[in-house]
Assembly symmetry: C2
Homo-oligomer: 278 residues x 2
């Protein structure tokens, strides 16, 4: 099969490596000539170009650009494509993308591979990045079965665990376990920076250990990505943040009122329930 990849970063590059090793013919497109060359060098694609037209012959195209570029890129790309071409994306928010693209292209299926690491760019591309990782597909009522079957087969060949759901349910779910953690983690570092006593501030820096490190990690990731999550998953994230604030207020109240037994019960429930998410 001819598979096109638009956006040759960590995800696009890694998809290319795996799919090419299975005998597919990979066509890559990047805005930069140097990225095209790197993708060729590491064997992520068979051919590469900076020209969108280059993907005209692909049977399936993965849009692997940053979220904000997905819809405009599909709009530009579709004029070159035959109607049967299947388009999918890898954006971490689904409802606004599916809403915008579905009326334009029937054979579109929103996708979200839950894989990655802290590195970015084609240099970070690696084999088997998606093995045993969740890969969410969000077809809608009007999505042709043929397109779903073909895309599922490709995703299954990556070793991913496939989940189907409505785009809105995806966005709610990731707002709890992915986007909310970014914001509460970011607030931790921001709060520690507010200490005004220089001796305590220095001491806090010297004493910070794995507890601070882990809890503050995701909030100090790529700032552009953090903003895009908030922009594109706006309502779900705000809902999660407001629920979080209520829960935090409960903890504060319990501590203020010295209700130690209830606090202990809440912490015990957390300890019991958290493994369900791991």
């Amino acid at each position: 099969m001819k598979i096109g990849i638009l956006g040759l970063g960590l995800i696009g590059g890694s998809l290319g490596l795996d799919l090419r090793s299975q005998g597919h013919h990979l066509l890559g497109v990047s805005r930069r000539e140097s990225t095209c060359q790197k993708a060729l060098d590491i064997g992520s694609v068979d051919q590469a170009s900076v020209d969108l037209k280059f993907l005209a012959s692909a049977d399936v195209i993965f849009i692997c650009t940053p979220i904000g570029l997905i819809v405009p890129q599909v709009e530009q790309l579709m004029v070159y494509l035959p109607m049967k071409a299947i388009i999918t994306d890898v954006g971490s928010v689904k409802a606004p993308i599916v809403e915008a693209v579905s009326p334009l292209w029937q054979n579109f299926i929103g996708g979200h591979p839950m894989a990655g690491n802290t590195d970015v760019g084609i240099e970070a591309a690696q084999r088997n990045l998606f093995v045993n990782r969740p890969y969410v597909l969000t077809p809608i009522e009007t999505t042709p079965n043929r397109a779903i079957t073909i895309l599922e087969e490709i995703v299954r060949s990556l070793g991913s665990i496939i989940y189907h759901c409505q785009p809105e349910k995806h966005d709610r779910a990731v707002s709890w376990i992915s986007h909310l953690p970014v914001m509460i983690s970011a607030s931790l570092t921001a709060t520690c920076l507010s200490e005004t006593d220089p001796e305590i501030f220095q001491l806090a820096q010297n004493l910070a250990s794995s507890g601070f490190r882990d809890t503050s990690r995701v909030g100090a990731g790529n700032p552009e990505l953090g903003v895009m999550m908030a922009q594109y998953n706006h309502q779900a994230l705000l809902h999660s943040l407001q629920q979080y604030r209520q829960n935090l207020d409960e903890f504060i109240d319990l501590i203020e009122q010295e209700k130690w037994q209830i606090l202990e019960d809440k912490l015990k429930l957390n300890q019991q329930q958290r493994p369900k998410f791991l």
Copy 2:
């Protein structure tokens, strides 16, 4: 030197292993006979007993019990000790302990080795647990120099990095980087458990990855320890929680009002400043 350890868990047991290997004579006391035997078996102490009197001949005594038992244990122990005996503790909160013990025992120095792991008990004791880890000492104005010098020498021999500060400053510093993370991390799991749509709840569990795992980790630790932090570091933790809540509200406002540039600037500042704490 004769060194006593009261409380043979992870910290007490590990202290014994290191100090005994340096030629000190280690006396251990635990409430349980079986723990005494295990401490002897792994070579953490030279002699062990369930009787506090057993520590009467020690030059320096480390109190390694849970926080809530430190003051009562010192009160019971002191009747057997000569005045020159040096007492220290390893509790993660310092001001209430130092306030309570200092009037009772002049040669007392509060201490806090910032080391540990997720395992507990004498079975988890290990060599070199304190190497390159911070070890805070909180002597006060009336603490004799001789006691400080002797304790510092022992702590330095563990390979720890020694910090001196007032007990209150210690408690403020750890409230930022250790106790606050526990509560905001616990609130994350508690919030995710509040989702009422079973499909979204299941999906969130299936999709949760390293972001959720790391951010929720310290909040799902030992519930009794979480409560003790809140009890003993009450005021500092409440102050930190209120500052955190203000910061979180700022993040929520920025997202609600779609002030993306300011949000990005805040996330960038975090990304720049967080390494200072690592």
